[in-house]
Symmetry: C2
Subunit: 351 residues, 2 copies
């Protein structure tokens, strides 16, 4: 029986019967709560969960599921990252004989109660969450059922309490800017992401450090905050390119922002990379399809998802496991960067 | 019990006991076959499946699954279509209280046996397949378990035997070409997809008809076959642009091919749309992020996936349902098309 268990089943430190007694409910109610059934009143469920939590209940004798599942949950699938992450989870899941269940939580904030009920019912081997902030309630409910979970956190803001996988944002910002400095650029603009995301700030700090290591000072006028989307990139690039002393290179904080920079340049008849060098961030597939193909910082999204899924499976097997994995980023040089050309200012005579 | 059934259970026209008798096996063997268990010898399984098939066995009394699943299976997730299709399935699944299981069959041809075993074990409400050709074996095994399936077939080559959802390729080719004709173009090139895909041929025929309706003749030199990828688009566009009498507009058979055309134009210092108009096909998100944003034929991928999932649920409820759905395509005009400029030939004097 997939969802059943015996009354005297001893699971971790406490039996079902003891949980029932402590919570003052029947054993069948405890079983319903454990199995994520809907027909338990909320206060009763809360009472049972408190007992499970207080007693570090761990269900260790569950019958092996015939068709094991691994869940991946997104705020929204809109992101161009989504497919890369799905592919990473799918690869490791398949190698371990599991299938991938995909859920879009449907809000920009945190997974809702309807999502968590579904997980408890499906009883997956584990859950990969693509969120930065995970509500305490979600953590507690997953833990009370011994369902391991790992957060993929490209925003670089890990909850110390939650196993997570991220990537090295500061180093990415450093590498992008250093590349432009080495090409000979001195006026380098940056369009980083939103001010309230740690990854934006880390990339910006990497940019500042690269400039400072080259003896350059970051001109505050050349620092802009975008939204990680094309539109923000286009608007911020327009501001930078319309300055009296515009930059000869722009480090865009994401590939989508870099596409916006290309569009702003095209509208001003500036050729990339001849008149303007552009560096992206992420290295999603469209970076190589762009015209010109983008020099960008490769964020190993697929490997991050693979790492998260492997971490999940190790957590489940209760092997000792590092619960923060940070993967390295690397610069990929393509066609959108070159040494600065000074034609725009030096105006050579015709003929 | 999720996977169990009673021996006298009458399912469709025939009972389990009758199936067992006809196949000359035990009832428990029939039950194992129905549940996709691995511990049945292949010849025995084949025998049982033949009986199930011959007797139009339909399992109608299965206990409601606690956490219903809908499966979506891809050859490969590499495609930029994948995410749009996933989102369509996810939307309808969620509205029907189901979760989405995602499988990559891992071959470029058809889903393998390991995939189908997984489906039979999970016993989903239905399966959306993103394939053109479905092996008879897969059809038979899904049918013998009464698991409905629908094929999403953007390649336009539906198997008459299988419920499917496609889109209007001929009309798309017509609309794209007509738009260019109406802008005043007379030398219009086309880079359609591979020669062996019906959707390529349908788009090409739409192109020819639009030209012919405008009293123009399709110059065979301006017709090229690509691979639906960026690289093919770039190479075929290079051939077209290097002709003695190059086209003033190119209808690329996919958005990725259109990006290749943009790159070929950039490398020749041709400005789009001033010197060359470009029309894509598909309208995947990157079409609007490209610089310039692509005029393209919108293929309603998300709606196709939604339609397929709804068809699946109707098939399951045994409502009468049309088993071929063809959605309309529509032209989306953005920045990559304009009236032809004849500057390249007319060389106005300076000043």
């Amino acid at each position: 029986m997939l969802l059943g268990m015996r009354e005297d089943e001893r699971v971790g430190r406490i039996t079902l019967a003891q949980v029932a007694q402590l919570a003052g409910v029947s054993i069948s109610t405890v079983s319903k709560v454990l199995n994520g059934r809907q027909d338990v009143a909320a206060p009763t469920r809360a009472k049972v969960e408190r007992v499970l939590d207080d007693n570090a209940y761990r269900r260790t004798t569950r019958a092996a599921r015939e068709a094991p599942l691994i869940e991946i949950v997104f705020h929204e699938l809109e992101s161009i990252w989504a497919l890369e992450l799905i592919r990473g989870v799918e690869k490791v899941a398949k190698a371990n004989g599991a299938s991938v269940v995909l859920t879009e939580s449907g809000t920009r904030r945190a997974p809702g109660p309807e999502w968590i009920e579904g997980v408890l019912q499906r009883s997956p081997r584990g859950v990969v969450l693509v969120f930065s902030a995970l509500p305490a309630e979600v953590k507690r409910r997953l833990r009370s059922r011994s369902i391991p979970f790992v957060v993929i956190d490209p925003a670089g803001d890990p909850d110390p309490d939650v196993p997570s996988v991220g990537s090295a944002n500061w180093n990415g910002g450093l590498a992008a800017t250093r590349h432009l400095v080495q090409l000979g650029h001195r006026r380098i603009g940056i369009i980083t992401g939103p001010k309230d995301m740690l990854c934006s700030l880390a990339r910006l700090d990497g940019y500042r450090s690269a400039l400072s290591m080259a003896g350059l000072v970051a001109d505050p006028e050349l620092v802009r905050y975008g939204d990680f989307h094309v539109e923000g990139g286009r608007e911020r690039a327009a501001e930078l390119l319309d300055l009296d002393d515009p930059p000869t290179a722009i480090f865009a904080g994401s590939d989508l922002q870099a596409l916006g920079v290309l569009e702003a340049a095209r509208l001003r008849d500036l050729r990339v990379p001849h008149d303007l060098s552009v560096v992206g961030y992420d290295d999603v597939p469209l970076a190589q399809w762009s015209s010109p193909a983008l020099t960008t910082v490769h964020q190993p999204l697929r490997e991050m998802a693979e790492g998260a899924t492997r971490m999940l499976l190790r957590l489940r097997s209760q092997e000792p496991v590092a619960t923060r994995l940070e993967l390295t980023t690397s610069l990929v040089v393509r066609q959108s960067t070159a040494a600065p050309s000074f034609e725009r200012v030096s105006d050579t005579p015709c003929g």
